[in-house]
């Protein structure tokens, strides 16, 4: 009631503002489509995506490279008319509910079945697909074969064996495991749940409202207090430096570090999924993929969709180049992943196998920021502060339940 009128006057005010600002001709016809990427760390990616965009003949495309806090910047820009037409992101249910992104089901065509189902699921809400996966990233456990041999440690296949291995590998100034400067609170929370057969959210219900969850997170606390974790390194878990510099025998990091590790250590390393804890649990690797999306506020949705179709569906050679020529990602299309020679052997081949057998979405669309904050806070307090796990997780489960109720009724 009050809202409508207030809003109208607000809209009037902004129209006035727009009239005041002399228009420099941004927007309008004949202009380039705006495409956004976050700043990839690997050299060459920026040049590559610019090259792709230039090769598109139907419409000019301006590529914009965004360093820094990409998520916040994107979120802010999508609220106004100044945002990009096409951008890469992970899918969030909130964007779908707010009508910020456009369904892209018709863009896929026959190629749909060629995309890995588990990856496509991370871009699907209520049966519609909103993002075309560009590159699959995953995290796993890297270990030094020589250090394992020297300490007489076997590859851990359960969480208890992992804790034990980490302790025994801590010797001669080398720590057992590096899982982030916060002791694994941020990246191992999900794997810990999966190791016990639990999950973030399952069928619109809280997935970790179970006494076993406390036990699983308790294992992370055990690791943290064992003195075998490296903490406070210069570079965080996403970079391989602690591992390649020999500061640790194991590190939790991503597939993207494989080239750097290969260069530094040759064959002296192997990879594993996060092991299982209980008999109902399973080993796991967190998997995620940035997808190309179309801004619903774009004035040229159809042109934007056509560009996305051309770039990420039609031009399979670009997908191959994008995934394999710079850093190290798995192409989301099975037909490309299968014929990639770079992925046929060694750690990369293991990674492909883990993604096939043990993939869990690292950031599912309905795991909202409120839920994530509540869960990560609880894990942090248990792991780093020794707070009682059952209470903390119960609190987080309550928050998640409220949020799910809001989303699904």
């Amino acid at each position: 009631m009050i809202s409508r009128r207030r809003l109208l006057s607000l809209a009037g005010a902004s129209a006035l503002l727009a009239a005041c600002g002399s228009n420099t001709g941004r927007g309008g016809n004949g202009q380039a489509l705006k495409q956004w990427y976050h700043a990839y760390g690997e050299p060459g990616v920026q040049q590559a995506v610019e090259r792709y965009a230039k090769a598109y003949s139907k419409t000019p495309v301006d590529v914009q490279w965004n360093p820094g806090d990409y998520d916040s910047k994107l979120a802010t820009s999508l609220l106004s008319d100044g945002g990009p037409d096409v951008f890469e992101s992970t899918l969030q249910i909130s964007s779908v509910r707010a009508g910020q992104v456009v369904p892209l089901d018709d863009v896929f065509g026959a190629a749909r079945s060629d995309f890995a189902e588990s990856i496509l699921a991370t871009h699907t809400v209520d049966g519609k697909v909103y993002g075309v996966p560009q590159a699959v990233d995953m995290q796993m456990l890297f270990y030094r074969k020589s250090m394992f041999a020297a300490a007489g440690v076997q590859q851990p296949s359960t969480v208890d064996e992992l804790v034990d291995a980490s302790k025994r590998l801590t010797r001669n100034g080398v720590k057992g495991l590096f899982a982030g400067n916060d002791g694994g609170g941020a990246v191992l929370g999900g794997p810990a749940l999966w190791s016990a057969g639990l999950d973030y959210v399952r069928d619109h219900q809280v997935g970790f409202d179970d006494p076993v969850a406390a036990q699983a997170i308790g294992k992370l606390r055990e690791l943290y207090t064992s003195g075998s974790l490296l903490l406070g390194a210069v570079k965080d878990w996403a970079e391989p430096d602690a591992f390649t510099q020999g500061l640790v025998a194991m590190q939790w990091t991503g597939l993207w570090t494989v080239p750097a590790i290969q260069k530094a250590l040759g064959d002296d390393f192997g990879v594993l999924p996060f092991p299982k804890l209980t008999s109902t649990g399973r080993p796991s690797v967190p998997v995620g993929a940035y997808g190309a999306m179309v801004n619903a506020r774009s004035k040229r949705v159809d042109e934007a969709k056509e560009f996305v179709r051309w770039l990420w569906i039609e031009k399979t050679d670009y997908q191959e180049d994008f995934n394999l020529s710079y850093g190290f990602h798995i192409p989301p299309r099975k037909s490309i992943a299968e014929k990639a020679s770079k992925l046929a052997s060694g750690a990369a081949a293991d990674a492909v196998k883990f993604v096939r057998d043990n993939a869990k979405a690292s950031n599912p669309p309905d795991w909202t920021s409120v839920m994530r904050t509540a869960f990560n806070d609880a894990v942090s307090r248990v792991v780093r502060d020794g707070a009682p796990a059952d209470q903390e997780l119960k609190g987080a489960a309550g928050t998640v339940r409220d949020e799910l109720k809001r989303l699904y009724g």
Partner: protein, 270 residues
């Protein structure tokens, strides 16, 4: 007693200079030296090529972004001095029924964190079509309640005799301000100018969101490219940080006597 004072001051001074030393040491070393468990006081070999590497790095347009920062900081500094100076004088010296209302509205803005109104401000700016545009980076920062408030405090203590002399010469408020008040307040303008320049040069969140094209990046945004998730080049990061503060350090050393003198003159007295 005296040597004790000097000792205390010297120790503090060393602590205060330590971070500058670290910036230089880390920026001119190699990554191995920085990560080494044994401390090296100074890089065994100065790696000046870090300089050419940084400025030659196509992914981080250092020259362009420093130029942008300079243009933005200079226009924001002069714009603030002009607008806030006038407003401060009006609030301090021109009797007007609603002057106090305006003053309270200015003071109230000091308590509201910018991060709070950040998103609506962004929407206003984007509605004006000022994204990736110099105007979007400069204009919203011109209306500083803090600067206006300081000006107002200062002008309240400006000697009335000088103004009255000008008044007798037939000058109105406008003439008095430009011919008498401003020329006699150069030091204070310089002081607030330095503060405005520093604030502008160092701001981060706003240019990060507004400066969307690489061509409109500021130096702080360029710095943050080194911090992106997948590969931090620690040496270049430190070197770039050192480069980014150099202009300010120069300005400070050159202008700080103005600063101190004029803070003495201001009204952080009521």
């Amino acid at each position: 007693m005296k040597w004790l004072r000097y000792l205390a001051l010297s120790i503090t001074a060393v602590l205060f200079l330590l971070p500058f030393y670290l910036l230089l040491r880390n920026g001119l070393a190699t990554e191995q030296e920085i990560a080494s468990p044994t401390w090296t006081f100074w890089p065994s070999e100065i790696h000046w090529e870090n300089f050419t590497e940084l400025f030659g790095n196509p992914a981080v347009p250092m020259v362009r972004s420093m130029t942008n920062s300079l243009v933005i900081a200079v226009s924001q500094t002069f714009g603030q001095l002009l607008l806030c100076g006038l407003a401060g004088y009006g609030l301090a010296r021109i009797p007007y029924r609603y002057a106090n209302v305006v003053l309270y509205l200015v003071i109230a803005t000091l308590m509201i964190p910018a991060a709070v109104t950040f998103v609506p401000t962004f929407v206003v700016v984007s509605t004006l079509g000022w994204l990736s545009d110099l105007r979007g980076l400069v204009v919203p920062g011109l209306f500083s309640g803090f600067t206006t408030f300081l000006f107002r405090q200062y002008f309240r203590n400006f000697p009335r005799e000088l103004e009255e002399a000008a008044r007798i010469d037939g000058l109105g408020h406008w003439g008095t301000y430009w011919r008498v008040v401003v020329p006699n307040s150069k030091g204070f303008f310089a002081a607030l100018g330095v503060i405005a320049f520093v604030t502008s040069w160092n701001q981060f969140l706003w240019p990060l969101v507004i400066a969307q094209d690489q061509d409109s990046w500021t130096v702080q945004v360029a710095l943050s490219t080194f911090l992106t998730a997948q590969s931090i080049d620690v040496v270049q990061l430190f070197f770039a940080a050192a480069v980014s503060i150099t202009p300010l350090v120069v300005v400070f050393v050159a202008l700080q006597r103005f600063l101190v003198r004029s803070v003495v003159e201001t009204g952080i007295k009521d």
